[in-house]
């Protein structure tokens, strides 16, 4: 229990009231510090819904989500925003970089939001960019980068506040094979070097099999939670 980072107990998510749709049905899942886990399932199976619940972006209709053993269901929007900022990192299928800001500013954004020490943040921001192979691009506009570079900047942004867990929703969905492999290797490296836990949503079995543990969801239910054969 000491290593338990995230715990979801019996979470159910129902959308709509007149014609209710059950997106998640009594899902119980946990993640420990430093784990490298994938979440697979077909399109519409509830992968992203589960990720949004675990990432405190959405609240379950029933059940509870605990982060660092803190029950998050009853927290206000402000407290949840604070937890997202400091404890979690997000990488989405679409990079969602801010075109109004430079590469470095995009990476620094979580720290700018939390208002932490600027000098330390700046130094760490450069380190992150170097780790991601983006040195020299700091002052470029996010719009000037290639698809692979943009996704690496988004990864950098997710790592900026040294989160305990990075939630990645189809992070390689828009990338070619070369960039997909590069991003996945980066995740692995960060997981090993920094001890950051990863939960990667993917429909690519090849990628899932390279993680340490595979969760599978079908029709809103968790049907498999196994250690990877690799």
């Amino acid at each position: 229990m000491a290593d338990r980072l995230l715990q979801a107990n019996g979470i159910t998510k129902v959308y709509g009231s007149l014609a209710p749709t059950v997106a998640l049905n009594d899902v119980t899942v946990s993640l420990d510090h430093g784990e490298f886990v994938s979440l697979v399932g077909q399109s519409g199976s509830g992968k992203s819904t589960l990720l949004n619940m675990l990432g405190l972006l959405d609240t379950p209709t029933s059940g509870e989500v605990r982060l660092d053993d803190l029950k998050t269901n009853d927290l206000g929007k402000r407290a949840r925003a604070g937890l997202r900022n400091r404890r979690l990192g997000f990488v989405f299928q679409f990079h969602y970089l801010l075109p109004e800001f430079s590469v470095l500013e995009n990476v620094l954004m979580p720290t700018l939001i939390s208002g932490d020490n600027k000098a330390d943040a700046l130094s760490y921001g450069h380190e992150v960019l170097e780790l991601l192979g983006l040195s020299g691009l700091e002052n470029k506009s996010a719009t000037e980068l290639s698809g692979g570079q943009k996704q690496r900047v988004a990864i950098g942004r997710a790592l900026m506040n040294k989160p305990a867990l990075v939630l990645a929703d189809e992070p390689t969905g828009n990338l070619d094979t070369t960039n997909t492999d590069q991003v996945f290797r980066l995740f692995r490296q960060i997981n090993k070097d920094l001890g950051t836990a990863f939960l990667i949503v993917t429909h690519d079995r090849r990628i899932a099999q390279q993680t340490d543990r595979i969760l599978e969801i079908q029709d809103g239910k968790l049907i498999q939670d196994v250690l990877s054969p690799v």
Binding site: S48, N52, L57, D58, K77, R78, A81, G82, L83, R84, N85, R86, F90, F92, Q93, F94, Y96, L98, P99, E100, F101, M109, P110, L112, I113, S114, G115, R157, D169, N174
Partner: protein, 382 residues
């Protein structure tokens, strides 16, 4: 100040949109300043032209033909009132000018020369001669002078109501700007009036008063009537109702123009900021996913409103003052026209309104932003 930084970046990212909205506010504020100053200056010009050389309040005795007692109490009361600009106690002498077979009636206002000038501005209206009102001197109107062939320095004979005949020297001729007044009104000194009417020291035909703020005449008249029940007060606002209603109509039409210009500016800002908020939905959603709070994200558009309002008001101020300067050297410099003076209070209020309207217009997009759920953006995809 991350929200300020984001607001500025959002504005800089769409420079044409930003310039257009700033220009929209600037034009609105410039119109406010220009139209407001134009109407205020026009009104002040009209008031000066129509009321600047005439009494605004005239005090007479209750009984017709009687003299008013210009006693110490009345003098002190008028002196203490800061709005009272000039007081002229005067005696009006009716006389007939006779020259051969010709005759012409004259109404002669007799008072101290300096005091008469303070209301009637006679020195600036001289058409000939020197401004002087000795005991046996008279100033006549230009139409009387031309009609009766009278020149400065001439002696004229007047038959008074008492049938006494007095001979006076014409010291100067004035143009009062009105044909009837130029034919029938004349001015003489205090001594002549007192001797002609046989009135004692404090007894006058009327006490004429000019005010620095003409629209306060009714309030002052009411106050005087309460303190001195035995005098009759003639108020220009009651005597010249058509002029007053004209000025009031002008003020209310100006107010309407300004009101609709403000509405147009407010709608312009609100719609542009709303469009901007919709355009930036994705960015706001991601910032919220990264941990930005609702309140902080809402302030982004308030900052934008403040920024646009400040730049627009500043531009409007410069444009408005520029328009006034252009008007002053072109149309305003033509004969018969009037100068526009920027109204300081009005300029400050217009700039303040520009800022306030921009801020208020930002409230709607700001609230929309604060309410935005990041999940909406993430689920909708790229």
């Amino acid at each position: 100040m991350l929200s300020l930084r984001i607001a500025v970046r959002f504005l800089l990212k769409s420079p044409i949109q930003t310039v257009l909205i700033v220009a929209g506010i600037a034009v609105g504020i410039a119109v406010q300043i220009f139209v407001g100053s134009l109407i205020a200056s026009l009104q002040s010009f009209l008031i000066d032209q129509t009321l600047g050389s005439s009494p605004h309040l005239t005090l007479t005795a209750k009984a017709k033909g009687e003299f008013i007692d210009y006693n110490q109490a009345l003098r002190i009361k008028l002196k203490k009132n800061a709005v009272v600009k000039a007081v002229v106690p005067q005696r009006t002498v009716s006389a007939i000018f006779v020259k051969g077979s010709q005759s012409a009636p004259l109404s002669i206002k007799c008072a101290d020369a300096t005091k008469l000038d303070s209301i009637y501005k006679l020195k600036s209206k001289l058409k000939g001669g020197d401004y002087s009102l000795g005991d046996n001197e008279i100033i006549v109107g230009s139409d009387f002078a031309s009609g009766q062939n009278v020149r400065p320095g001439d002696m004229i004979k007047l038959t008074l109501a008492s049938r006494a005949v007095k001979e006076l020297r014409v010291s100067s001729i004035v143009d009062l700007g009105n044909k009837q007044a130029n034919e029938t009104v004349a001015f003489a000194g205090t001594g002549f009036g007192r001797a002609a009417l046989g009135a004692s020291v404090n007894r006058y035909s009327a006490v004429e008063i000019q005010l620095s703020q003409v629209f306060q005449s009714t309030a002052i008249a009411k106050n005087l009537a309460g303190a001195f029940p035995d005098i009759t007060i003639t108020d220009w606002q009651i005597e010249q109702k058509s002029l007053l209603s004209g000025l009031q109509a002008q003020s209310s039409s100006t107010f309407m123009i300004q009101f609709f210009v403000l509405i147009a500016v407010a709608l312009g800002i609100a719609s542009t900021l709303s469009i901007s908020a919709i355009q930036k939905t994705r960015q706001i959603g991601i910032l919220k996913a990264l941990g930005m709070t609702d309140g902080r994200s809402g302030t982004i558009f308030l900052w934008q409103g403040l920024f646009l309002g400040f730049l627009g008001s500043l531009g409007g101020l410069l444009l408005g003052l520029g328009l006034i300067a252009i008007f002053s050297v072109t149309a305003g410099a033509k004969p018969g026209s009037f100068p526009i003076t920027p109204q300081t209070t009005f300029v400050i209020v217009s700039v303040g309104i520009g800022l306030a309207v921009a801020m208020l217009s930002a409230i709607l997009p700001s609230r929309r932003t604060a309410r935005l759920d990041p999940i909406e953006v993430i689920q909708s995809g790229g």
